[in-house]
Symmetry: C2
Subunit: 517 residues, 2 copies
């Protein structure tokens, strides 16, 4: 075995054939690999590679370097080169987001990251949200068009990424793709029509492993694609990837994982069990909340501090550019700081006396001026309205109630989690202190909060680093108990209690001390 | 389960989805099939079928008829139709002969034969024998050309066969292909170069199961092709198919199987062990032996009787046409009858006194006139030369010595075989009585001889009738011990002894009584 070998790459010296051993080339290689891999599982070689095998073996004196892929049932030989050849062997992880697609190119010899990139999902041209796209599939060729858009986008991004690190798409042998259920369907050319219609049935739960060519991706022809499984319309492969990445399913202690997007998906579990639920946490938690709300980007307010004494505002904008808007984490900071400085009451209402000249009325509705026009990039006041704040309060209350519900369902309390994983871009930029202050997240020690970043991409990349990944991921999927959120009277009562800052029951948030309490 | 169900076809009623059970369409079908098949093995559906699945399921109220294929490791769903649709479901067995390709179309619902056909291997245009074709592969595009010829020939034959029984090539879901090692290589587009060069290494021993599209066959896109494995250059899938067809590997009693072509392949075995060898039995046993020798066809002498008293000849020709040549079985009859009527001595030499005016000398060489010119279709005498007869004697001696050698190697005697299978066209038309008379086959009771016909085609067809076939066939291959024929002094001594009619040791052939002994 060569020292450049790794999990997926095995260099083997094969005993050359003789009259005493006339085993065929393919079986000779398989037998050598079986010894190296120490496996009794079946090992398969694509016909396209078998065709090239005799010449390769004889050119390099029966010393070859093989790229392998374990599909959970068998080992597949997906690449063969002479042992002294040193063509790169790359793998690609893809997070197939509704808005944004992220790619991470890995060197499969040691798992190190070669490059990353991202591009706006070209399906945005058809519709910004997944529902519009699903409806678009009703039109003739709608599905084909959407499917083609994402595949063409990926092929272009792969080309660019390869050029950037000077390898060829042919050098990519393995792909792992995580996306929500609808995006996965569009990626595979499967009609998502029944996903959004009662009883909400996906076409497939476990797409498993496909050949790149089957879906039109221009990689090595033998390259295999692993597609993360889903457990239904609302709980997709991106979330399974997140669990896999956070390692919830391996830990002895029970942990909680929250992924916040349009929905809040929550998973609680440990090495023995996993419970998941998904509920609408409201759009407040994405950029869309306010008129000035937006995706994080240069000039966007992402952190905000208000001096409780002077009520002076201190803003931080991305790349320190002149402010032009606010993103989700900024809104949460803003609400927390307004509350702590006594400008917002426990119901989330602006207190005119405390807001002073920062308060203005537009179309009969109270607004708080965050940045006056003369300091903003737009020239207009950047404001947040009472309606925006009301919406944030409802969202954070929904979020807290969902967290409470799933935790109660397993007989635990929110305060018991030693690990609280927050996934997604949102999770990376949110200040947990502010989220606790407004009562969106439970009052845990800050060190218990762990931002995962893009856990869908992380999980996809992780899947390429172990031979057991695919079985492990299938196992995660099969073990998840999906908790249907029953919005009953008890839920509504707890929701109402959570519609205060931080909560009607302040003993749940001992760390939150307000100036006006 | 419907009463039109069979091994490969399962009708399932699937519980429609509900809010209580949101399992995806694909997994819902797999789960229903798992119950019907009573298997824990994995069940896989091609992406192309998954794409159509939601519409099919909903059109037929979740009652579907599935066509399945067991590849030895897993069940593959290769066709799905509404339970009430009655599209045909066909399978195709192919014997990939060097000279002739034979096809048998089966109805997979009950295994009955729909039609058969055959065509001359279009590779004959490149070279009549396999060696010429293998050398042709050295030229650029040679392999591609040969491979294309056989695939195009098959596609045409499949089209014709389907038209004949008014089904579509799309209705064919399973193929089993048996051929010698070189033909299998050319069929798969694998370079046979190393098959004929020491140490005689095939590219692959177990090609296993491929998709029809992978090799360009125009069947149902999901159709699977099973290719019989080989155990080396000289022992191909056609022979494995023969063993499978004869059932040697299942019988408690030891039996022997002989397949005579350019080589004589011999297998001895029972349910516990199998031993095989292949050796040159000489061209005498195919049509090529004499100048007039030919493949069986109209006007070809296939049976011959000589009155031992009058030495009058009685000929039978195929389709009772005017004689124009003689085929292998005719030559064996001729030699046996010449011997029994005292016209041939025990060395196989023509006895001028006994031959009388049937003897003529051409180019200094004795010839026996079988049919005088005035009675033949060609207008010339149909003769057999002393050289032809010498060649036949060498061939039959080689055959007998090979049979003796392999039988001795397992500590048995030729007289002990209760079943002596003779495969191939040759086996079907040969008169075992004549073959015994000249000492080519051992002196067993005639009822012990069993002509198998085209056992390669028979084995391929049989492979399509059981879910365990593929594993069974692999098992046959793995169990065969290949006996390298060691042409040592002992072999040469026994060969010399067999170069007499029937043998120097006449006690081995008690049933052969000659007029001149």
């Amino acid at each position: 075995m060569s020292n450049t070998d790794s999990l997926w790459i095995k260099t083997v010296s094969i005993a050359p054939p003789s009259l005493q051993d006339n085993t065929a080339d393919a079986e000779r290689l398989i037998s050598a690999l079986r010894t190296t891999l120490q496996t009794n599982n079946s090992i398969n070689i694509d016909l396209s590679l078998i065709k090239k095998l005799p010449a390769i073996l004889r050119q390099c004196d029966f010393n070859v370097r093989c790229t392998l892929f374990n599909d959970g049932r068998q080992w597949l030989v997906v690449g063969i080169q002479g042992a002294k050849e040193m063509r790169p062997v790359a793998g690609l992880a893809v997070d197939l987001g509704t808005s944004r697609v992220a790619l991470r190119l890995l060197d499969l010899t040691d798992g190190h990251i070669l490059a990353e990139s991202g591009f706006d999902n070209p399906q945005l041209a058809i519709g910004p949200d997944i529902l519009t796209r699903i409806h678009f599939c009703e039109s003739s060729d709608g599905l084909t068009k959407l499917s083609h858009l994402i595949i063409a986008g990926l092929n272009q991004a792969i080309d660019d990424l390869c050029q950037f690190v000077t390898i060829e798409p042919q050098d990519i042998y393995a792909l792992a793709v995580a996306g929500n259920t609808a995006m996965t369907h569009l990626f595979l050319g499967l009609n998502p029509r029944w996903i959004i219609r009662e009883p909400y049935i996906p076409v497939v739960n476990k797409p498993g492993v496909l050949k790149a060519a089957e879906i039109g991706l221009q990689l090595n022809p033998a390259a295999r694609i692993f597609i993360f499984p889903n457990i239904g319309s609302y709980f997709g492969g991106d979330l399974i990837a997140g669990i896999f990445y956070a390692g919830l399913h391996r830990a002895p202690e029970t942990a909680i994982l929250v992924d916040v997007g349009t929905n809040a998906e929550v998973v609680v579990g440990n090495q023995n069990w996993l419970i998941a639920c998904a509920g609408a946490a409201g759009p407040a938690l994405e950029g869309g909340v306010t008129k000035m709300g937006m995706m994080a980007g240069p000039g966007v307010v992402d952190k905000l501090f208000i001096d409780p004494q002077t009520r002076e505002f201190a803003l931080h904008t991305i790349e320190d550019k002149t402010p032009r808007g606010i993103c989700g984490s900024g809104v949460i900071d803003l609400a927390a700081q307004l509350f702590l400085s006594g400008m917002l009451d426990i119901r989330g209402k602006l207190i005119p006396a405390a807001c002073g000249k920062r308060l203005t009325v537009i179309d009969g509705l109270k607004h708080l001026i965050m940045v006056p026009g003369e300091q903003s990039a737009t020239g207009s006041d950047l404001t947040i309205s009472q309606a925006d704040l009301d919406s944030l309060i409802r969202s954070k209350a929904a979020m807290y109630t969902i967290l409470e519900t799933i935790t109660m369902s397993v007989g635990m309390e929110l305060s018991e989690f030693a690990s609280f994983f927050v996934a997604g871009t949102f999770g990376s930029i949110i200040d947990p202190r502010s989220a606790i202050t407004i009562g969106m997240l439970p009052d845990l020690p800050l060190e218990n909060y762990k931002a995962l970043g893009n856990s869908s991409l992380g999980g996809a990349a992780l899947a390429l680093t172990s031979a057991e990944s695919l079985a492990e991921i299938d196992h995660i999927r099969d073990r998840i108990t999906y908790l249907e959120l029953n919005v009953n009277q008890d839920f509504m009562n707890r929701f109402s209690a959570a519609k205060f800052i931080p909560h009607t029951n302040t003993s749940l948030f001992p760390s939150v001390k307000t100036a006006i309490r």
